[in-house]
Structure formats: structure tokens, C-alpha cells
Amino acid sequence: MKKRRYLVSIVILLLALPMLSVKHNINPVSAQLPLPPGVPRGDVLVVENHWGTYIDPTDFNFKVPGKPATGGNGFQQLCAAFLWYINTTTGKPINWLAAGPPEYSDDFKTVKFYIRKGAYWNDGTPFTAHDVVFTIETALKTEEWGTHAFAETWIESARALDDYTVEIHLKKPYPRFHYAFTVIIYGCSWWIVPKHIWEGKDPVSFKFYPPLSIGPYNLKSVDPAGNWFLWEREENWWATKLLGLKPSPKYVLYIHQGPDEKKALAMTRHELDCLRTLLPEAAEMVIKGNPYIIGWRRTAPFAWPYDACVKGIGFNVMRYPYNITEVRRALTFAINFTNIYEAFRGVDGSLPSVTPLPIVPYPFAWKAYFEPLKDELVELGLDPKTWWWKYDPEYAEELLKSVGFKRGADGKWLLPNGEPWKIVITGPSGFEMESARLGFLTAEEWRRFGIDVEVELVEAGVFSARNAKGEEDVGTRWPGCSLLLDLTPHLQWLCSKYYDPLAPGHGWNIFDFPRREELDSLIEEMEMTPTTDTDKLIELARKVLLIWAEQMPNICYFPTPFYTLQDTYVWDGWPTYPDNYYMDPVSWWAQHMFVILKLYPTGNVPTKEALPRPGVELPEEKPPVTVPEELTEAISKLSSDMTDVKSSIDEVTTKVSELSDTVATLERKVGELTTLSTITYAEAAIIVILIIGLVVVARRK
């Protein structure tokens, strides 16, 4: 018996030993990543594939709608050809493959795009106006492309005036036509295709695999199972030659690890360098488990408060009683916003950025819209302390009673016809968990006010269908998204001309109210105002926002905080607010390319081909001047004068520099003298005695 026990113990020990040794031998930061043989972890940036498993990972024809997201596999961050980007921190454009801003004719029916000279695809073929024209013409011809509808609606024709100028004739005036070609929020469906690759191919079934890149990386390998995509640095990239930009990581790996818990485990083990967001519980696990974690800020609170969409509650104004403005307003004033706000306080102290309006309160938007509208909003019921609508249940009661609602014997609200009033809030299930949470919190507030409320969570497919078709009374919604200072594209949906009977939504744009005509005409005026006329656009947008606030078709809370965590163990140089705020930490957006270009290895893990800290700043070019031909000479003269002025400035600069040197020398001497002054009297006495001694010796000689 004893012998047997002894044998069993030996066997258990023998089994346990290899497990322990395995644990010790595995490098926790590279154990399970799909890297080529011999590639150290320090050469690889690991980004979350936020989309998940790609059903066909070799299909890069994202022109056909319904495909997976372009931000999950790195296509839009590392490979695709975009003309312009918007810097998420300033709302200002970055000219990328376009040499400058577009040039519109006076009637906004013709637009010219100027292409950057010297840019080329990664196979060496120059990127030209012909690629742009080919992309537009293919979109016009191909009904199956997602961009076809836009092309069909707006574009009459497109032609290349030369290799670097595209002229597009529009069917009707459109001053912000180029927005379609700009990466504003997340991505842009008008990425340019390489003509020499796509020409002669069926634009629908062609998979564009491997994709020809014009970005800093080329696709090296994909997981046949669709979870990861590995990109390798292009050593001969056009932007290295033209702009001096070169990314440090030799490889970028986009990987899907599974649900939140597994992403958190991966990040804790330094197997994931950045991600889109985590549920607060999972974020807490990473923050506690990985001391190298940072977020939107370098220190807590970490969450990014400016996701581009405001989350809130939408009322279906096509359904009774939500077509009554007093009802919507009453439901808003019945909410104690502090409860909702505090419910989103993260473990690290993160809090959302409040907005009573359907726009995101970026710092630049705050100055342009929120502060100037404060007095009018206060008149409409804003509480200036919380910057949200005041909690005023008495006023809410008054409003409801004014339109015939009454309370029953049990204190619950009844409809004017005496029937019990029940609100069903539709929310998303299995995705956008923050919205579902907002649904429950709102329900709790209304219940406390005496309304019977139920929250019904539905899957994505059902949620989008119900939203679009208006098959709900009240739903958790994204009442507004914004990133630009020009709010036209963000607010134009409110105009009645965009009512689609196939997808009426919550019916706001056909909702009839006394200021409907005024609202429509304001939006139409915004649409026809050039993007450069910022003052006018801001003024018009403020008026639209005030009408919106009067009517309150939705309740806006805030963009829900995103835990866009970034690990500084392997890489640093991440954007952080406020000290290094060159871009937002949006790893799933196309703009993340600019973040990757700023990263550098920390030295905590071995590297082989990772480059040291990049010294070049991201491009912030002045737009090239495009002028009518008759002014060319004047421009030329002006530029030669400018050259003279520049040389004079250079001279002055040199002299100033010399003077600075002199000042510096003087400062140093004064410093020395000051130092001298700090010498003790005894030291001074010794020096004086020595000098006297020297003088005496000299005299004797």
C-alpha cells in the first residue's frame, strides 16, 4: 500500500515538473504570437483586430458593402490610399496623397483635386490622377460597389487634366464633395484603387489579394482562420523619401484574441499593445495587472472621452405620445443626470464628457458651440453646473399635465385616455454594452418618476432593422456624431428632404413643428456654404442646435468613455493628453497610421530591426496656393519677392542667433562672476594675498 502511494507521488511529481518548467521557459511577451521564425517581440507592434474573425481573410475588396470592417485587419491604417485625413485632435485636415485642399469652381459644380507629386505605390508605380479617375469611373459603372450610390448621385464625369490634376464635374453644386474622399471618422470608403492592378478585373469578384499598398507596410501573411494579419515595413516608402517619415516597428500584427476577458489577459501579458476598448471590469483587470498601461492620459483617469458619437435615448416621433414635444421635454427633465453620469465613473476615475447637444464636446467644439450657446441653453432648461438639462420633476409633471397626462391612484402615470403609460426602451444586446447600460439607467430614472418602463435588448441585426424602420417607441441611440468644426454633415440629416420611406428611422426629419421650414432652410444654407466660410457655418449651426434643443427629439448624454489602453512595455511614443496630444488613441481608425509613425522601442524586450525613435514630426503642411492662370505671374513675382524676404529673414535670423550666442556667453560669465561672489571671504583673502605676493615677487625681480 505504502509502495503504491510512493509510486503515485513520484508520478504526480514527474507530471508536475514539466509544467513548471514550461511556465518558466515561456517568454510571457511573445509566447503565442504568430511571428516569423527568429523575429523578436521588440520588432512587432501588436494591435487589436477589433472586428473579430474575418470569414474570408483573403478578401480585400472592401468596395463591395457588407464585408468586415477595414480597421480590423490593418488595411485602412497601413495600406489604403487616402487623399486627406482629419486630425482628430484639432479637426483640421492633413493633406496626404492630395497635394493640397481641393479647388472648387464658383458654382461648386466643378472641383479639382491636386495629387502629390512623387508618391508611388509600393511596387514602384507612381500614384497619379489616373488612379483617382479610374476609381471614380469604376464606382460609376459598378452598381455593387458601396460608393456607386454616391457617385451616381453627385458625379457627372471625372478626367485627369494631367498626371497630377483631377477635374470632377458634379451633377449639382456640392461644396463639401471632398469630404467623401477624406478620412474623417474611422475610415473612408473612397480609398483609391491602383489602376494598373484593378484594370481588366471584375470589380465585384476581384479580391485584391494581396492588396497593393501605398502605406508604410505591406501585407506579409494572413491567418487562414481569419484572426490575425501580419504586415511588414516597406523600406522604400514614398513618405520616407518625401517627408522623412519611417515607422519604427518592423512588423505590425493585427490580432483577434476573443472576448474582452481574453483581450485583457493578452494585454496583461504584453501580448497586445493597444486596443479599441474594454468593458470597465476587464479594463480594471489590465490596469491593475500591467503597470505599463496608459490610456488617453499618461496617468489615470485613462479613458478616452471623445468617441465620435454621442450616446443617448431616441424618441420615435412618428408614434404617440412621443410626437408631443412636451412629453419628450418632460421625460428629459425627469432624469437626474448625476445618477447616470456617476454610473459611468470608471475604477480609475474616468468620467464621460457631458453634452446636452447632439455633438461631441471636443475642446474646439466647446469654444465654437457650447460656450456661446450657454445663455440660450440655460433658458431652455440647462443646468450650468452639470452642463446638462436640469433635474426638475415638478416641471416635468407640469409639462405632462399640460397635455392631458395624469397620475393614477397608485401614483403611476396614465395616458390622457386613462390607459396606463408603459415605455419600452429597445437597446442593443451583445454589442455596444454601454448603450444597453444607458437604457437601464434611464428606465430607472423614469420608473422613479412613476412611469412603467421595460428595457428590451435585441441582437445587432434586429436592432439596426428596428432603428431604421422605426419599429420601436423609444430606443437607445447615437443621437449625433461629430468631429468637424463644420457641422453640416453631422446635422444635415435633420432636414426633411432626407426622409426615406424605406427607412424612416425615428421620423424626426418629417416631424412637423412650427420651426420646421426654418430648420430646413438653415440646413440648406449650410449645405451651400463653402467649408472655408467657418464663421458663417458656425453661426448657422448654432441656430440649428438651438431649434434641436427646443424640440429635444433625442436625449443626449455623452460619448461613452472608451478604454483605449496602450501598453508602454514594448513601445512608447503613444499619443497622450495633454502633453503629447498629436492624435487620439484610435487604433481601429485609419488615422492610427500617424500614431504608428511616432512609436519607438522602449528597450524592455530584444529588438533586431526596429528603428530608434523617429526624429521627424508628422506633416503639417501649408496648403499649396491654387490660383487662376492670370494671377500666376503675380504669384511668381510675389514668390521671388518672398525668396528675397526669406533670405533677409535668414540673415536676420543668423544675426539674432549670433547675438543669442553672445548673450549666452555673457550670461555664462555673469554666472561665473556670480559663482565667484559666492566664494567665502577667506578664499578671497587667500587670493588677494597670492596676488599681492606675485606683485611683490615681480617688483623684486
Binding site: 474611422y186 501579458r269 441585426g461 444635415q492
Partner: protein, 343 residues
């Protein structure tokens, strides 16, 4: 005379079962059609929702209206006569041409399912067979030696494990063997760059499948298979014919193999056949948790996107697989169990 009757019975039996088989498929397929008609999902609105929410409303409203009409046309969702669409549906089902997948247009939906099938079959077929074999074997031994200590320990373990849902087991295994003792990957199908099929690639795929397989096998083998086999074994041991075998002095191995095992195999084979049929529909939760690229994951994606064509392909394949397994089982039953006649 007896032989003739037997042949006639056999033919009658096969014909009846075949009719049942066809009727089962036809009814299930029709139910699927009705279900799809009432499903409140809309692939087009899903795509538009994704587009407009992804770009945050920076999308020209007129174009969106135009795009919506185009997509309804492109996906063939513009409506139509319900009888005509039902006939078209049946045609699609019986030709296995389910139309293009909306989530990978214009790739045929069935082709997508076929591309995912080897992953699922590799994982589920192996784990189902191992689970079934191991569970029954342990159950048989635990039942036969019900008073021994190890049998009691096994029973206690099974009672603890049986109520644990397999997806919770999956998370426990991940925490244990992919984080605390990181000897398995967190998920995925493979983690090396597959230039060509080599031993390394195969081993890597197996390494990735082990945790998902264990998460299915542990609750399976020590759960239902074990408990049912053990109960059946105990019940068989108490039967008169088994007691008689003991009295006759037959060796215990002989009793175990011929009397107990053979008797518990009959109901357990039914379970196996149904499980094997279910292999084709994938294991959705396991595949999602482990980011495993099988049919379950495909069905999950298709459901979320409102891609009815792909979902239809998965469901129809599953219906065919389960119905065929049951049909084959019905035909094989008389061979396994002599008590079942062709009647």
C-alpha cells in the same frame, strides 16, 4: 416463407424510414423558410447601420438613400410573391445553391460554409468521439465497480463537473492553461505563418484546438456520457440475465463486455449519432470564446449581420446532417440490437 417475410419486412422498413427521412427534411426546411420570413433582421439595414455609424454620419444622406435601394436589389430582398419565393427557396435548398453571402459578397454562401467546415469537423468530430468513448468507458467501469473508492471519486467529480456549462469550463481552462500556466494559446486557429502544409503547421493547429476540445470533452465525458453510462451499467447489472450470468460462473470480463457494455451501447449509440449529426452546425459559444474559425463562428457572424443566405446554408447543412445520421442509425439499429425487428 420466413425468409420471404423477412426480406419484405426489410424493404418495407427501409422504405418507411426513407419516407420519414424525406418528410423530416421537408418539414424542417419549410419551418426554416417560415422562420426566416418572420425574422426581424435586415441585412441591408445592418450594412447601412454599420456604414453610417462607423463614419459617424459623415455620409451624404442622398447617397445612403440610393445605396439602400441598390442593396435591396443586389441581395434580392426587394420582396415578391411568397409562393414564388418559397419555390425558389426549395430550389436553392435542394441544389445547395444558397446565393451569395452578404458578408462576403459575391462569394457563394455554401462555399463559405465549406471553407469553415474542416475546422469544425476537425474539432468537433474528434472531441465528440473521444468524449463519447471516454465517457462511456469510465461510466461503465464506475458502474461495474460501483463500490470501489475510485468509482466513488469519479462519481463525485462527475457530479461537480456535470452542471458546469461548457463555456464556463472554457473560461476556466483559458485562465489555467493560457494565462497562469501559459502552455496553450489564448485562442485562434493557428499561430504560425503557413507557407505550406507541414508537420509544424498540423501540430500548431492541434495545439490550438486542444483547449477548445478539452472544454467540450471534460464536461461531456465526465458529464452526460459518464453519468448515463454509469446508471445504465448499474441498471444492467441488476437485471436477471446478468445475475444469471454470475450464477453461471461466467468470467467478470465476459459479463462486462457481453452483458453490460453491449446493453448500454444501444441508447448511447443514439446519442452518438445525434451528436455526430450536430457536428456540422458547429459549437457557437466555444468557437466564439476561443476565436476558433469554425461553422459556429460563421453562423454567429451571419446572424449578427442578418446574412440569411449564409445562415440558411449552415442550418440546412445541419438539418441534412442530423436527419441523415438518424436515418442511418435507424437502418443500423437492427444490426446493433437484435431485439429491434424490421417492423
Amino acid at each position: 416463407m420466413s425468409l420471404r417475410t423477412s426480406k419484405k419486412d426489410l424493404i418495407e422498413y427501409v422504405v418507411t424510414r426513407t419516407i420519414f427521412y424525406i418528410a423530416t427534411i421537408f418539414t424542417s426546411v419549410t419551418l426554416i423558410y417560415v422562420l426566416f420570413k418572420f425574422m426581424p433582421v435586415d441585412a441591408v439595414e445592418n450594412i447601412i447601420f454599420q456604414l453610417t455609424s462607423a463614419v459617424g454620419g459623415v455620409y451624404d444622406p442622398e447617397s445612403v438613400m440610393e445605396l439602400r435601394r441598390n442593396l435591396y436589389e443586389m441581395f434580392g430582398l426587394s420582396g415578391g410573391n411568397p409562393i414564388e419565393s418559397y419555390i425558389l427557396f426549395l430550389q436553392r435548398v435542394f441544389t445547395f445553391n444558397f446565393g451569395p453571402a452578404f458578408i462576403s459578397f459575391p462569394t457563394p454562401a455554401f462555399q463559405l460554409v465549406l471553407s469553415r467546415l474542416p475546422w469544425t469537423i476537425g474539432l468537433l468530430l474528434t472531441s465528440t468521439i473521444i468524449t463519447w468513448t471516454l465517457g462511456n468507458l469510465l461510466g461503465l467501469i464506475a458502474g461495474y465497480f460501483q463500490n470501489r473508492k475510485f468509482a466513488k471519486v469519479l462519481e463525485a467529480v462527475a457530479i461537480i463537473i456535470y452542471p458546469i456549462p461548457y463555456y464556463v469550463m472554457a473560461l476556466i481552462l483559458i485562465l489555467l492553461f493560457a494565462f497562469l500556466i501559459p502552455i496553450f494559446p489564448l485562442g485562434g486557429g493557428m499561430s504560425i505563418i503557413p507557407e505550406k502544409i507541414t508537420l509544424d503547421v498540423i501540430l500548431n493547429i492541434i495545439w490550438h484546438s486542444l483547449l477548445p476540445a478539452l472544454s467540450l470533452m471534460i464536461p461531456g465525458a465526465l458529464g452526460w456520457s459518464f453519468i448515463s453510462a454509469r446508471t445504465l451499467a448499474i441498471e444492467t447489472l441488476s437485471k436477471d440475465y446478468t445475475r444469471y450470468a454470475w450464477i453461471r460462473g461466467l468470467p467478470s470480463r465476459h459479463i462486462l463486455r457481453r452483458y453490460v457494455l453491449k446493453n448500454i451501447l444501444v441508447p448511447q449509440t443514439t446519442v452518438l449519432a445525434l451528436s455526430l449529426g450536430g457536428v456540422f452546425s458547429g459549437a457557437v459559444l466555444t468557437e466564439v470564446i476561443f476565436a476558433y474559425p469554425g461553422v459556429g463562428m460563421l453562423a454567429y457572424r451571419a446572424t449578427f449581420s442578418g446574412d440569411l443566405n449564409t445562415l440558411m446554408a449552415v442550418l440546412i447543412l445541419s438539418i441534412f446532417a442530423v436527419a441523415t445520421s438518424v436515418f442511418l442509425l435507424d437502418l443500423l439499429y437492427p444490426l446493433i440490437d437484435p431485439r429491434i425487428k424490421h417492423r
